[in-house]
């Protein structure tokens, strides 16, 4: 009994795809993920494009953001506090994002935990840019401006995601911790 034509072609295409995913060079596999992360960062900076891009969450972006921030902030600190600040920034970012998410969940919001952590982490990217700028410009007024712009940008980026998912009468209660989270990070960047 012969296989019908269409099924033969379908199975051939399937085999090709499976083979290619395993046979492709590792650089191609890694680059695909890197491009995805890059696209998400761009989406956080420029609010145009695919709205559902951040729905397939990943934690690479928050990790990259966290590492860059910790390294920058701890390198600028007093000598005996370098380790403390590195660990502190790490803890603040991950536990802060976790606590803000749990708070939104407990208030009745319909978010998935890791997706919310992912969005909060990615939205820190403007503040990372401000931190990088404040390494080069040490004047207090310039740094305040940079940090303020970064803060407003980050808050807007994450609000757009979280605010439609919270019941209306508790919106302020759910959004205030987001504001507090970004305020802490901004202030840590400002005083270095």
């Amino acid at each position: 009994m012969s296989i019908p034509e269409e099924n033969k072609i379908d199975s051939q295409i399937n085999d090709d795809f499976l083979e290619s995913s395993l046979d492709e060079p590792i650089s191609q596999t890694i680059l695909r993920d890197v491009k995805m992360i890059g696209r998400k960062f761009k989406r956080v900076l420029i609010f145009r494009g695919d709205k559902n891009l951040l729905n397939n969450w990943d934690l690479w972006g928050p990790l990259i953001v966290c590492l860059i921030l910790s390294v920058i902030l701890s390198s600028k600190a007093a000598d005996e506090q370098t380790q403390l600040i590195f660990a502190g920034v790490f803890v603040i970012i991950w536990f802060g994002a976790g606590v803000v998410t749990v708070n939104a969940l407990l208030l009745g919001g319909k978010v998935s935990f890791f997706q919310s952590v992912c969005v909060l982490g990615y939205s820190l990217f403007p503040l990372v840019i401000s931190a990088v700028f404040s390494i080069f410009f040490r004047h207090i007024i310039a740094r305040t401006v940079f940090v303020l712009v970064g803060f407003v940008w980050s808050v807007t980026a994450s609000l757009g995601f979280i605010s439609p998912l919270i019941p209306k009468n508790k919106k302020t209660l759910a959004l205030y911790p987001v504001f507090l989270f970004y305020f802490t990070i901004s202030w840590l960047i400002l005083v270095q």
Partner: protein, 296 residues
């Protein structure tokens, strides 16, 4: 929750068990006034779900009240009464996340009202609706404010000193860590101790979450105080501290007094314990001043 959802939810177990349990069938006809309405509505799979499920989505648990087998024995049961005790949410064990949802059932107005009441020396915090949102976020805000403004005040102090260069001032991250340990234990760990002390010494049962509410909201007066601590004068800092500390202490003691001072004969022990709580609060305030807002 509307009446509609209550009726729908109560209809599902009766419909399921109609053939099995005679008693429930009789009770089903007792609420015949709503029967037509109930039967005309479709029973979605969500409502027919077993009550023992731990659903992934927390909002599912919220809409399905507990099926209480003692319903038919309760003469005062009114299916349309939203406040009847049978309409409670399903009780989860305290280690699950959904258990704490009941403590987040507040709105912005409630939280603000409690924040303002925490400075009222006679009325104190209202304990009708216990919530965890207020204490936790007031404490966290205070930690962040103390960390930032404490560093700011040390920066101002370094500005005033003539010998040192301003560039020598370094940001002290330890202020944040110390603040968080001090305040989180005062608001979340210390109430557990207070609960047990009250239980064993004066036999009064004070809910732990009520104590968390009282102590958490009492810290909210320190938020504007932290901002005012930026004034460099040492005398003004101490005056401000004593004022805020006394106002909040009175509020704590009055809310405890109003709610838990019953007619049993342990009054002396009760007042002594209240005095102890006031002293501890005063000590915490002094620590806040000394560790975070040093004078010149």
């Amino acid at each position: 929750m509307s009446n509609q959802s209550n009726e729908l939810s109560f209809s599902s177990p009766f419909d399921q068990d109609e053939n099995e349990n005679q008693q429930e069938n009789e009770f089903g006809s007792f609420i015949s006034s709503g029967n037509e309405f109930i039967e005309s509505n479709s029973h979605s799979p969500k409502q027919m779900k077993g009550f023992g499920n731990n659903s992934q989505n927390l909002s599912d648990d919220l809409n399905i009240p507990d099926f209480n087998p003692e319903l038919e024995l309760n003469e005062n049961f009114d299916p349309l009464d939203e406040n009847a005790p049978n309409q409670k949410r399903k009780k989860q064990p305290f280690w699950t996340l959904s258990y704490y949802e009941q403590y987040f059932d507040v709105e912005t107005g409630d939280v603000l009202k409690n924040v303002i009441l925490s400075c009222h020396p006679v009325k104190g915090v209202s304990l009708e609706k216990l919530d965890l949102f207020g204490p936790f976020w007031v404490t966290t805000t205070l930690i962040i404010l103390m960390g930032s403004l404490g560093n700011f005040s040390s920066y101002i102090n370094s500005l005033k000193k003539q010998e040192e260069e301003v560039g020598d001032w370094e940001f002290d991250f330890r202020k944040i860590t110390t603040a968080s340990i001090l305040l989180y234990s005062y608001v979340f760990v210390y109430p557990i101790a207070v609960h047990f002390i009250f239980k064993f010494v004066s036999k009064i049962e004070i809910k732990i979450f009520a104590l968390i509410c009282i102590f958490g909201y009492s810290l909210s007066a320190f938020l504007p105080a932290s901002i005012l601590f930026a004034v460099p004068s040492e005398k003004s800092k101490w005056l401000l501290l004593i004022f805020v500390s006394c106002v909040t202490m009175l509020a704590i003691l009055s809310s405890l007094n109003n709610n838990y001072n019953t007619e049993n004969s342990h009054k002396i022990q009760f007042y002594v314990l209240l005095g102890g709580i006031g002293v501890v609060h005063f000590i915490i305030s002094i620590l806040i001043k000394i560790w975070f807002f040093e004078g010149n």
